[in-house]
């Protein structure tokens, strides 16, 4: 038996022994996600147990180095952990932008001191991070951001406004793009900086979305003082860090089309609209749409697998994550359009218990942001046209 097969067997056994049954059920509400942070509360005892066991094993982030509280696993092993967790439906013990976004950037660009300071608190779920990128006049055109950081001795003094800061009102720290040189060309005067959200001068205001939820904030900085040592990478070269991190974010978002999505669409639809004597959906037009969707979904899933394998083989194009982000988000929007169509009038209820508080229409509306956040579909296509196809003037 190979080492990997051994590892798989051990992983399976460990998960079987340690993952509480409650943590193997599909999540049904926002409270089922544990985000960590200073004010974190567990919504249930099994949630606490599961988190702590995984944390102690280093598996809140299996592929990070052990010195930072990760599992020290290589890519193949980490994949096995993901697969075995998926096989029993195990929930993520900890979800955080520290893991998915800041961490990779720190590992690539951070100083030793920064890594030692921040990464262990991420893996242990002690600090919850948020991302300060977009501004009211810097959305798709992110690099035109205006939040300024003025040098004052060993500190920067930060003033400006961010928007679309995810859960800023719950976050402990922020990783943030600021303009440290107003006279440079727009991509050249930006720095990537970290600071505590309890710093003087920071305030947040939740944004109510069309889904009825408020996962984002407007975030205001009024003379926030931050030590210069909190800059990640080189001052004025923050755009490199931002781009690196955006690629991670895009790869993550592109996976949404294939994430644990419950029952296959065809079966969901069969329940609401019925089937004919041959077992085909009664709504034959809907059946066509679902089948076309599932073909594209299966193809995307193969493409995601291939993207990982190409990266391993050193053959992937660095801009390919934009292609996947585009396709994955557009596909996820299609999924929810189909779910709404299959759901019919029932899927239009907004508040009843029967509809779990309008879970489906709210999720449907939420997907409309997929092709905007992390770079719009239009920006993604532009990147592909320019960086992969090398079209003139793109």
């Amino acid at each position: 038996m190979s080492d990997l097969e051994n590892f798989r067997r051990e992983t399976r056994a460990w998960l079987e022994a340690n993952c509480p049954p409650e943590m193997r059920r599909p999540m049904t509400s926002e409270g089922d996600t544990f985000w960590g942070g200073r004010n974190a509360k567990f919504s249930s005892e099994p949630q606490r147990v599961w988190f702590e066991r995984m944390r102690d094993k280093g598996w809140t982030v299996p592929h990070w180095p052990k010195e930072y509280g990760g599992g020290g696993l290589d890519g193949e092993q980490a994949k096995i952990v993901r697969q075995e967790m998926a096989a029993i439906g195990a929930r993520q013990p900890l979800v955080s932008f520290g893991i998915s976004m800041l961490g990779p950037a720190l590992l690539q660009y951070g100083t030793d001191a920064q890594k030692k300071e921040h990464l262990p608190k991420i893996t242990a779920g002690l600090i919850r991070w948020c991302q300060g990128y977009s501004e009211p006049n810097a959305g798709s055109d992110l690099a035109s951001l205006q939040t300024r950081a003025e040098s004052d001795g060993d500190d920067f003094v930060i003033t400006g406004q961010k928007i679309w800061t995810s859960y800023a009102n719950y976050a402990d720290w922020i990783f943030c793009l600021v303009r440290t040189d107003a006279s440079a060309k727009k991509h050249d005067g930006i720095s990537f900086i970290l600071f505590d959200m309890t710093s003087k001068g920071v305030s947040t205001k939740p944004i109510l979305l069309i889904s009825g939820y408020s996962p984002f904030c407007e975030t205001f900085f009024d003379g926030v003082r931050v030590p210069k040592s909190h800059v990640v990478g080189t001052v004025n070269r923050g755009w490199d860090v931002a781009k690196y991190l955006l690629q991670h974010e895009r790869a993550m978002i592109s996976g949404m089309g294939e994430r644990g999505v419950g029952r296959p669409l065809g079966q969901v639809a069969a329940d609401s609209v019925g089937t004919d004597e041959q077992g085909r959906l009664e709504d034959s037009m809907l059946r066509s749409q679902i089948s076309a969707f599932e073909i594209d979904e299966a193809a995307l899933s193969a493409a995601a697998e291939r993207a990982v394998d190409l990266a391993k083989a050193g053959e992937s194009h660095p801009a390919f994550s934009s292609a996947m982000k585009y396709y994955g988000t557009e596909l996820n929007k299609r999924r929810y359009e189909i779910l709404m169509s299959a759901g019919g009038a029932d899927a239009l209820e907004w508040e009843s218990e029967r509809s779990r508080g309008g879970a489906r229409p709210r999720a449907w509306l939420r997907t409309k942001a997929n092709s905007i956040e992390g770079g719009t579909s239009e920006v993604m296509l532009g990147i592909v046209a320019k960086r992969i196809l090398d079209l003139p003037g793109a």
């Binding site: 035109s144 609401s272 209820e349």
Partner: protein, 379 residues
Amino acid sequence: MALVLTEEQSMLRDSARGLISDKAPVSHLRQLRDAKDETGFSRELWKAFAEMGFAGLLVPENFGGSGLGCVEAGVVMEEIGRTLMPSPYLATAVLAASALSRGGSDAQKSAHLPKISDGSLLAALAIDEGTKHRPLQIQLQAVRSGNGFKLNGAKAFVVDGHTADLLIVAARTGGAAGERNGLTLFLVDPKAKGVAIERTAMVDSHNAARIEFANVEVNADQVLGEVDQGGALLEGVLNIGRGAVASEMVGLSEEVFGRTVTYLKERKQFGKLIGEFQALQHRAAELYIDIEITRAAVLKALQTLDGDFDHASAAVAVAKARAGTTATRAVQEGVQMHGGMGMTDQFDIGFFMKRARVCQELFGDANYHADQLARMKSY
């Protein structure tokens, strides 16, 4: 007949637009929603509507209405679509007025139509039972009992069901699910024993209800039209409703498109107005063309309903399907082109997306009508 509005119809449009844009811009719906208003619309505004003759538009003149046609009803619905005004117009003035005018006895007409015209009576049509619109699948049972019937079953997605003074209920008096024969319409008092009404809070903040009927007793004179022969009446009334909702979607699509084009001319990114980007220009142009073609298809359906009612089903199916597809596209492009702002509740555009979804579902979505059209054409 020319496929344009007549001068009278244009004047009607202007007068409806004046009232609605003045008294019921989108902020009107927003206020009702935020206040969790129990009624879900403004009775005062409905009175003003009735006074201007809109409530009785489809009611014959001898019953206090103006005896106009589906084109005129569509004109009003289109204006409603522009601001998403919640109002009893669709359920009462279009569906119930048509059902009573077309199927009612003189006594029934005299009893209800004048009150519809003057705005004092609100009504609702209860059809759907499953989650998708399948009128032939109606199973709510009406069993003969004494001089009348007893109703047992449940209805869902009943527009204005919780504010109605009168319910028009489609029930099965014979035949099996799937058959057109054996359907009968009943006029039911919502306060009658055995009727249980639950208002359903909807994604679009408009009114709908679920209604249960447990041994509800109705008299023979509460039958609307002929027993067992209600299928044709129902289909006719539904076609009028489909044309009306298609009109609402045309208004909605145009409004969203207009707002989006305005945004394209105001919002700057990358040092340019985003409307300067050719990829967005082409998509905007395609959407414009889509809306214009849908507008023609909807007007064609309304004119056919007015001119050749019994052969309007194909034109209505085309109109409702196209309008649903176009509105879906319009709100999707609208939200996407507004970027992050389009996702905020503060911008109105989400209201249009939500209402478009409900309109798509009302009286059969695009898939339903595409299937119906294929059946009509034998393939």
